[in-house]
């Protein structure tokens, strides 16, 4: 049975006077991968960034509706630091901090106030193993993260997100800056991460959504057109718009 982790109710989002998202309703299921697809400018990244309240960094943004997480509305949460330690995020371009690989992965732990060196190094190792990077970096943990290749950096960033044991990780087109080999490694990794966390991923690449996700949501001009199990959505879409999009007639 699918267990609901987050439920989005009547979510609308405004940037100044402009409405970007309209009345979105959907569920994010625990230990599943949910993909958000849609043409450029459809609001999928905007939607993703509502979950960790990234929009709060900028002025003039307004949310309406609810995203319920453990009975609480994320959009009304006061403690964003606490929220963001439970809801991780990985960006389009790798974002290594200017420090060593070890310090990168340990950064979230230190933010949480964990001081015990042994615990930190255990959790760093665990996260790097989970992110399938340990074997490649175990001998150079203390060299700068910028020395890694793009694909390795992205996996290190995933390890950094994993280290704080979040309930869900948001991925914003995590492979669009990577080559095909690095991409397939990340996809394989995402698939394995389901066991330990939940994933919400924005992707431009429909094949990627079809390959890795359990559920897919199709957004168009700020509206959620269809939300369905990935297999059903790609083989037998209910909406005409969805069918047109997945068969490549627009977008």
């Amino acid at each position: 049975m699918n267990q609901v982790l987050l439920s989005v109710k009547n979510l609308s989002f405004f940037y100044g006077e402009t409405q970007i998202l309209y009345n979105i309703n959907m569920e994010i299921y625990k230990n599943k991968i949910t993909a958000l697809i849609g043409p450029s400018g459809c609001g999928k990244t905007t939607f993703l960034r509502c979950f960790n309240r990234m929009h709060d960094l900028y002025k003039g943004n307004r949310y309406e509706g609810e995203i319920l997480y453990k009975g609480e509305n994320i959009l009304k949460a006061k403690d964003l630091i606490q929220l963001r330690s439970k809801i991780g995020m990985v960006f389009q371009k790798p974002t290594p901090f200017p420090m060593s690989i070890f310090d990168n992965v340990a950064y979230g732990l230190k933010l949480k106030g964990i001081k015990d060196k042994k615990e930190i190094s255990q959790r760093v190792e665990k996260a790097l193993v989970e992110a399938a990077l340990w074997d490649e970096v175990k001998d150079k943990l203390y060299s700068p993260a910028s020395d890694l290749s793009g694909g390795q950096q992205q996996r290190m960033v995933i390890a950094r997100a994993l280290a704080v044991e979040p309930d869900i990780i948001l991925f914003d087109e995590p492979t669009s800056a990577l080559d095909p080999i690095a991409t397939s490694k990340i996809e394989e990794l995402l698939f394995n991460l389901k066991k330990i966390t939940t994933i919400l991923i924005v992707t431009h690449n429909m094949q990627q959504a079809a390959r890795v996700s359990d559920f897919t949501a199709f957004l168009y001009k700020g509206h959620l057109i269809e939300f369905e199990e990935t297999e059903k959505l790609f083989t037998n879409p209910k909406e005409e718009l969805t069918e047109k999009y997945i068969t490549g007639r627009f977008g």
Partner: protein, 281 residues
């Protein structure tokens, strides 16, 4: 056809003029550096650094007092100017980046960078020297700090703006509060740039004479007390070069040599770091 010829001619004239202007500028620069180096180098000796000025007529005087005074004034100016410059630049690039006020401060800082430094000198004279009743090293340091602040402020702002926003977002997404994002991620990313800005700021004030004339003035005696009038290299050069004695002229050349070499060195290090930083990306 005629038109093309005309354009080519105008092009040649413009090119000729700009090349001429470039050479004119370069000529004087090279002329100054070469003459300072050749005349200054012969006057360099140990007593320059380890002896205080001797009375006219004695040839074994040095400029120890001026070196020490310059050092103390520059250090105090840096202690005031560097933190204010960096913190101000941080406000402009981070906390206050969307405020109109920040744009205004930024523009004013740009204007202040090109402010004649003698204006700063007279300003400090009226708000520090007059109330205190005497010239002092503190007043000199204060004047230099005022000159240093806008330079460091603007380079800090620009260097922080070069750090991609995604990097800050990534730190926020891990649950970092803003001050930690700045301290751990932004400053570290911009570290070489910030260092260079500070270096160039210090190099800039180390060569100023005008703001010191009315503030730290000069002192023929060795002193480490910034509450007294303090000698500095630049003011000493100014006075010695105007003086009637051959020994003074020699010392002025020697001091010029030391300043030119130091500043050249600091600027080159600064440029080198900036270039290395950007070629790496």
């Amino acid at each position: 056809m005629d038109r093309t010829k005309k354009r080519k001619l105008i092009n040649k004239i413009a090119l000729g003029l700009s090349v001429f202007a470039a050479f004119l500028g370069l000529f004087w620069l090279v002329f100054i550096i070469v003459s300072v180096l050749s005349k200054g180098f012969s006057a360099i000796n140990w007593s320059l650094f380890f002896k205080d000025p001797a009375p006219p007529g004695f040839s074994d005087g040095g400029l120890r007092s001026a070196f020490v005074g310059q050092g103390i004034i520059t250090i105090i100016a840096s202690l005031i100017g560097i933190p204010i410059g960096i913190m101000g630049g941080t406000f402009l690039a981070e906390y206050g980046r969307n405020l109109k006020f920040s744009r205004l401060v930024s523009d004013i800082a740009d204007i202040m960078i090109s402010l004649p430094s003698i204006v700063v000198g007279t300003f400090v004279y009226s708000i520090v020297v007059r109330p205190m009743g005497h010239f002092s090293g503190y007043a000199g340091a204060f004047a230099l700090a005022i000159i240093m602040i806008p330079t460091i402020l603007r380079t800090t702002e620009e260097m922080l703006n070069l750090v991609p926003w995604e990097l800050r977002e990534a730190a926020f997404a891990l649950g970092a509060p803003y001050y930690k994002v700045i301290k751990d991620v932004v400053y570290r990313s911009a570290a070489t740039g910030l260092f260079t800005g500070v270096l160039l700021g210090v190099a800039r004030v180390a060569t100023e004479t005008a703001p010191l004339l009315f503030t730290s003035f000069n002192n023929p005696f060795f002193t480490v007390n910034p509450n007294q009038p303090m000698p500095s290299l630049t003011v000493t050069i100014y006075q010695y070069a105007m003086g009637p004695y051959e020994e003074w002229h020699k010392l002025a050349w020697a001091a010029s040599f030391v300043i030119v070499v130091t500043v050249l060195f600091l600027s080159l290090i600064g440029r080198f770091i900036i270039n290395r930083r950007f070629s790496k990306r």
